[in-house]
């Protein structure tokens, strides 16, 4: 019973299903109740599940994550919303020093089934702190899992899987894709949470992306096809762990790799992918792994974000550079 729905709605439906299925699941955050969240991702949930399950919190991010840790210790499975990417930093301490380490610290006695939802990335013309992509800052921390869906169907299923995970999952939602629609089949058997997907087959070069950049890479592949180039597109879906086996298999076929993300390139996830794929595929590569992403600069004001964000031409340029080797 597949239904076409926007990504925001798919996440909403997924949360609804989790709240219905497991009485220990809670939804928490600023404005998630009556308002339904600033993106309406939690719309209607409080009305149907009550203020005890869908909790409007004080405006305090560390408090949101810190109390979620306590609730998890009590046996609950909180799904907390950080309103925007740039607002996660007041909670960064709780996420990094507590949430990520509680399982190891307790020698496995304590589980931390907490999902931290972060609407992230640019392209919506927002003000400062509303457009960032901090995934690498979290991926560097052992104990956290980082995922980012690129479409409504994955958004639905990956949320189910994130909630069921006994590990803390940082769930980055590409806010510029919230309104993109796709078929969501609530009866399907989903792919594993941390498995990358080949979303377009190709033979000349691999484009690897996740979250908001997958759609762009598909557009790039379409444009390149018109020029007679066959690009393979990977939706990585998970930033930690990263599915290097799928990337490796693709690169062994195409012999070229361009990684695309919105976050700054410097010390970003593309750097990790480039380094490991170089180790794994050194003799297969015809060109160095190239990266396209943001600059080492604060996310710019909205009127400049088109210059900052990877776009069709910048990715195509990287494709040309790779193919020129």
């Amino acid at each position: 019973m597949a239904e076409k729905m926007a990504m925001a709605k798919a996440i909403n439906e997924s949360l609804r299903r989790a709240l219905e299925t497991d009485p220990k699941v809670l939804v928490m955050g600023e404005d998630v109740g009556k308002l339904g969240g600033v993106f309406r991702v939690t719309d209607g949930l409080q009305k149907d599940f009550g203020e005890s399950r869908v909790i409007d919190t004080p405006l305090a991010e560390s408090g949101i994550v810190g109390t979620a840790i306590g609730l998890a210790l009590r046996g609950y499975r909180p799904v907390v919303e950080i309103q925007f990417d740039g607002f996660v930093f007041p909670a960064y301490d709780q996420i990094v020093t507590q949430l990520a380490k509680m399982h190891a610290r307790s020698l496995g006695k304590v589980k931390m089934p907490v999902v931290v939802r972060i609407p992230y990335g640019g392209g919506i013309g927002a003000v400062e702190h509303h457009s960032e992509s901090p995934e690498a800052l979290f991926a560097h921390v052992a104990g956290l899992k980082i995922v980012s869906p690129s479409n409504a169907s994955d958004a639905y299923w990956m949320m189910q899987q994130a909630i069921q995970s006994d590990d803390p999952v940082i769930y980055f939602e590409p806010k510029r894709r919230y309104w993109d629609k796709a078929e969501v089949d609530a009866e399907a058997i989903p792919a594993p949470l941390h498995k990358a997907q080949v979303v377009r087959e190709g033979t000349d070069l691999t484009l690897a992306a996740y979250g908001p950049m997958v759609k762009l890479c598909q557009e790039v592949a379409n444009a390149a096809a018109e020029e007679g180039k066959s690009l393979e597109v990977l939706d990585l879906r998970s930033v930690s762990p990263l599915d290097f086996d799928t990337i490796q298999a693709s690169v062994e076929k195409t012999r070229r790799l361009v990684v695309v993300h919105e976050a700054p390139v410097f010390f970003g996830s593309g750097a990790e992918i480039a380094a490991r794929i170089t180790e794994r595929c050194f003799f297969h590569l015809e060109a160095p792994v190239l990266r396209v992403g943001g600059y080492h600069a604060p996310y710019p004001p909205a009127r400049l974000e088109e210059e900052y964000l990877p776009d069709l031409d910048r990715v195509l340029d990287a494709v040309d550079r790779s193919l020129a080797f």
Partner: protein, 421 residues
């Protein structure tokens, strides 16, 4: 029976009390009149600062709940006596035993650090009454969120004291199952655990249970945002949590004046719940006040802040050198208020304990020291592969890959299996 929150916070004295109690407005007014009464212009600014600092300092003079004086005399307290009315001589001896054994354990750990057996130790010397009094007020189904100095509370919860030493020896980052004794692992980051306590308490409410939670933290932690946020959350959700601040006067080298211009217990007022200051060297008063606060929590009246006014007799940790920032006479003044000595005086004066009791306890105390010493020395280093264990509950491809690399590397050493490592 509960004590009205305003009673605990009622201003009882003149300028100093007002400045502290009613906050910055009154403080400013006091300072202004000071300036006007003196001299003019530019020096007035300085004087204003001095005056208000003096007022702030004066207001930190203890106005606290006390049931046992430093001389061991039982004093009446209309509000809190009821909470220790059922305490028998045997109970008192139990509290005394707890404090003595905890101090002995602590002394042994300090010695073990000096001998190189522990990498670090955070001594509780001087804070035994605050910890034993509050710890013995708890029910088994209550849950404790400690910082890293709550060895006495751990003792009350039945955590084997040798388990506390693993992280200080460097063999683990925890060492006990928090759910076995409802005693969460030590938290090193200052104040983080107050939010965990609040969340846990919110869960208790959701479960419809009548357990309570107690969160321990220090005077330094009271400056942390997490502590303020935990006050906000617990108040908003009426969470059954007791915030037990052990004000031991020093946050490493910084005195309490560097943390707050008002007495710490008064912080609660701004969050809408009661705060009370108790003599933290008086085990009976700590027991009574914590029982009162726990009862409030259980009966749905929400959070309470208890400030146990005490003193850290030793260093912050064994890495610290308190002679650089505080005077010996300060310690001497607090030694006169020693928590163990005052209860002993009371027990002796009331004929609640005889020489045999004290002698037996001395023997038990030495046996504990010996057991701890031997246990630490026998503590094995963790297996090398422990690095990769329990990083994730559900596993992680990178951890698996790196574990395999590590194994291959370890195996590459010749004769590793023959002890040639």
């Amino acid at each position: 029976m509960t004590v009205d929150s305003s009673a605990a916070r009622k201003p009882r004295r003149s300028a100093a009390g007002k400045a502290g109690t009613t906050g910055s407005k009154a403080g400013t007014a006091g300072a202004k009149s000071g300036t006007a009464g003196n001299a003019s212009g530019t020096t007035g600014t300085k004087r204003t600062t001095r005056t208000s600092r003096a007022a702030a300092k004066k207001s930190t003079e203890p106005e606290l709940v006390q049931l046992l004086t430093p001389e061991g005399k039982r004093v009446k307290n209309a509000e809190y006596d009821a909470y220790v009315a059922g305490v028998t001589p045997e109970d008192l001896r139990g509290l005394y035993r707890d404090m003595v054994l905890t101090r002995r354990f602590d002394a042994e750990a300090t010695a073990l650090q000096r001998q190189g057996e522990l990498g670090l130790w955070a001594s509780l010397l001087g804070q035994e009454a605050a910890q034993i009094g509050s710890g013995r007020a708890l029910r088994d189904d209550d849950y404790v969120f400690p910082t890293y100095r709550e060895h006495g509370v751990a003792w009350c919860r039945g955590v084997d004291p040798t388990n506390l030493l693993g992280m200080f020896r460097g063999v683990n980052n925890g060492g006990w199952d928090p759910n076995s004794n409802n005693f969460q692992l030590y938290t090193i980051v200052i104040g983080s655990q107050t939010l965990h306590a609040t969340g846990y308490a919110m869960g208790i409410t959701k479960d419809g249970a009548d357990s309570a939670v107690i969160a321990y933290f220090g005077d330094g932690a009271s400056s942390q945002g997490d502590v303020a946020e935990s006050f906000t959350f617990s108040a908003v959700y009426n969470a059954p949590v007791v915030f037990f601040c052990q004000n031991n006067q020093w946050a490493i080298s910084e005195p309490t004046e560097k943390q707050s211009r008002v007495p710490l217990y008064q912080r609660a007022q701004g969050f809408g719940f009661p705060g009370v200051r108790v003599d933290g060297n008086d085990v009976l008063a700590c027991l009574a006040v914590t029982r009162w606060a726990l009862e409030r929590a259980r009966s749905g009246e929400g959070p309470t802040l208890v400030e146990a006014y005490t003193y850290r007799m030793g260093a912050h940790t064994t890495s610290d050198d308190p002679t650089r920032y505080r005077h010996d006479d300060e310690r001497a003044a607090w030694e006169a208020k020693d928590p163990i000595l005052r209860l002993r005086r009371y027990l002796e004066a009331a004929n609640h304990a005889d020489e045999g009791f004290f002698a037996e306890l001395e023997t038990e105390s030495e046996a504990l020291g010996k057991r701890v010493r031997e246990a630490v020395r026998a503590m094995p280093d963790p297996d090398h592969f422990a690095i990769f264990e329990n990083v994730y509950a559900d596993g992680h491809a990178l951890v698996d890959e790196e574990r395999a690399q590590f194994a291959a590397y370890q195996a590459s050493f010749a004769d590793a299996s023959e002890g040639g490592r």
